[in-house]
């Protein structure tokens, strides 16, 4: 029965204390308007709610649950607003990276790791690292491939850095924008179980690109088979993170649209990987150049390149 105290407006820290004192009490979390539909359907069908409920006892989820609506309350022209996107500790970033490299089947990356605290640190610096890793690895691999040739003169190929940067940052930010717009549009037609905020999508895409960093380093190995095996492997890992994240968001939709969406996501991801491999890494040569045939009567020398 509601007492007078219960009806009084309470500050958030009081609510946190109340919750700490009584962990099993039902809680109502006040979220931003964009997430209200998600929560309404969450309560009806509860795919992620059990997870959140069982974590109510810890401080971390206390804060994220109760403050989820309060987090981004600073106006967008203040510095504090942007600080809320960098509210992560070292171990959280490392956990998220681990989650993107070892996807647990059935677990949603966003639900498990992001949990209403999307950060921009990971996406931004993973993209920056990837840009330079691809440029440097491409340069190194070309150097090793062409090393023995007498006509080869090493060039740093610095222009490729800007091309790599444009490509990767465009992929990591424009594709999430398009996907978010598309999901919002479908969400208005079909009520989905889960819908993600733009930052959460950027987060998933950013962290899913992490696997390409060691892959790019290993692509220095000048064997076609090795490179393609690595590509398929990393594509499977990061693709599965994306698929497991976005499948719950589209599966209630028209079957064909859902499959088309997921297929497009995977296709774009594959396109990025293949494009990077083709452009930044010269094809390794499988045969040795044929020995130079001594010219007879001044005819031209034939070599196989």
């Amino acid at each position: 029965m509601a007492t007078v105290d219960d009806l009084k407006f309470q500050e958030f820290d009081d609510a946190a204390n109340l919750l700490a004192a009584n962990p099993d009490a039902t809680t109502i979390s006040i979220n931003e308007p964009a997430e209200i539909s998600k929560n309404q359907h969450g309560r009806l069908q509860e795919p992620g709610r059990e997870e959140d409920d069982e974590l109510l006892g810890t401080d971390d989820s206390d804060k994220t649950e109760l403050l989820a609506g309060q987090k981004k309350s600073a106006p967008f022209w203040t510095f504090e607003y942007y600080q809320t996107f960098f509210d992560v500790d070292t171990y959280q970033v490392l956990d998220r990276i681990k989650g993107s490299v070892f996807p647990v089947p059935g677990k949603n990356f966003v639900r498990l790791y992001i949990r209403s605290n999307p950060d921009l640190y990971g996406p931004f610096w993973i993209c920056a690292t990837l840009v330079f890793t691809i440029a440097v690895s491409g340069n190194l691999s070309n150097f090793f491939i062409h090393l023995g040739k007498p006509t080869y003169h090493y060039v740093p190929e610095f222009r490729k850095v800007s091309i790599a940067a444009t490509t990767i940052y465009a992929y990591a930010w424009l594709v999430p924008l398009a996907l978010w717009g598309f999901l919002m549009w479908r969400n208005s037609k079909v009520m989905n179980i889960v819908s993600y905020s733009f930052l959460e999508i950027v987060c998933v895409y950013g962290y899913s690109l992490f696997i390409y960093i060691p892959t790019a380093i290993l692509w220095i190995i000048p064997q076609k088979v090795v490179r393609w095996v690595l590509m398929v492997f990393s594509l499977c890992l990061s693709g599965s993170v994306l698929v497991m994240t976005f499948w719950p968001a589209v599966r209630d939709d028209n079957r064909r649209i859902a499959l088309a969406t997921v297929a497009t996501i995977v296709l774009l991801h594959a396109l990025l990987a293949v494009g990077c491999l083709a452009y930044f890494f010269d094809a390794p040569e499988l045969d040795f150049p044929a020995p130079i045939i001594p010219a007879h009567n001044g005819t031209t020398v034939v070599t196989k390149s």
Binding site: F79, T90, Y121, F132, H153, Y154, V155, P156, F158
Partner: protein, 219 residues
């Protein structure tokens, strides 16, 4: 009475009494800040040069000193950036697209990189001011500029494998020195559980500069 306890208090001569009594008897009075207008130009320039030189020494022997942080200036970083960018010119290339970084590219990488790292550390909750951080990051490019100088001198002697190994060792050592120096100055102003998040971009920044230095090939 209320102040009965104070009757026993006496102020002896040993108790320091603080305050300032300025008696403007000399021309170097309270107007000292404005009198730099009258000093010879040489004094003005030497003062700034000495400040820059002192900071260079602080970078080469990084001890925890607040001089670098407190009196920040951007002259040193500018001089270092320009000289590094100039020394990176003149690389060989068959076409413009394959060569080393252009002057503008080096400039942009260093300054834009330093700004981004500073913003990153501030967004993560660092307490250092914007220009102080720029100042430290810029000054810590000094070891790498020295490495570039050494590389160019070594390349004058020849461009074989031995010269490459020497250059590799020198660049690696200076890269380590830069990163350690800047971390020594910047690490304290970061929240403790995010130190690695702040140090990693600094590592990346100096790695990119080292890569540009190492891959410089002359004509």
């Amino acid at each position: 009475p209320q102040f009965a306890g104070l009757a026993d208090v006496s102020i002896s001569g040993e108790v320091p009494v603080e305050g300032e009594i300025t008696v403007p008897v000399s021309p170097h009075g309270p107007d000292e800040d404005f009198s730099t207008l009258d000093e010879p130009v040489r004094d003005t320039i030497m003062r700034d040069l000495k400040a820059v030189g002192k900071k260079f020494i602080h970078v080469m022997y990084p001890k925890k000193s607040s001089a670098l942080l407190r009196d920040w200036d951007l002259w040193g970083p500018l001089v270092l950036c320009v000289s590094l960018a100039l020394m990176l010119q003149g690389g060989a290339a068959d076409s413009k697209d394959d060569g080393g970084p252009q002057f503008a590219e080096v400039f942009v990488i260093i300054w834009f990189g330093a700004v981004v790292i500073t913003l990153n550390s501030k967004l993560l909750g660092g307490t250092i001011s914007f220009f102080q951080s720029l100042c430290v990051l810029g000054y810590c490019v000094l070891p790498l500029t020295v490495a570039m100088l050494v590389c160019r001198l070594v390349l004058l002697a020849g461009a074989g494998t031995i010269s490459f190994i020497i250059r590799l060792i020198v660049v690696l050592a200076m890269f380590g020195w830069s990163t350690l120096a800047s971390t020594a100055f910047l690490a304290d102003s970061q929240p403790p559980n995010r130190k690695a998040l702040v140090v990693y971009p600094i590592f990346l920044f100096y790695f990119v500069i080292s890569w540009m230095i190492l891959t410089f090939t002359p004509q």
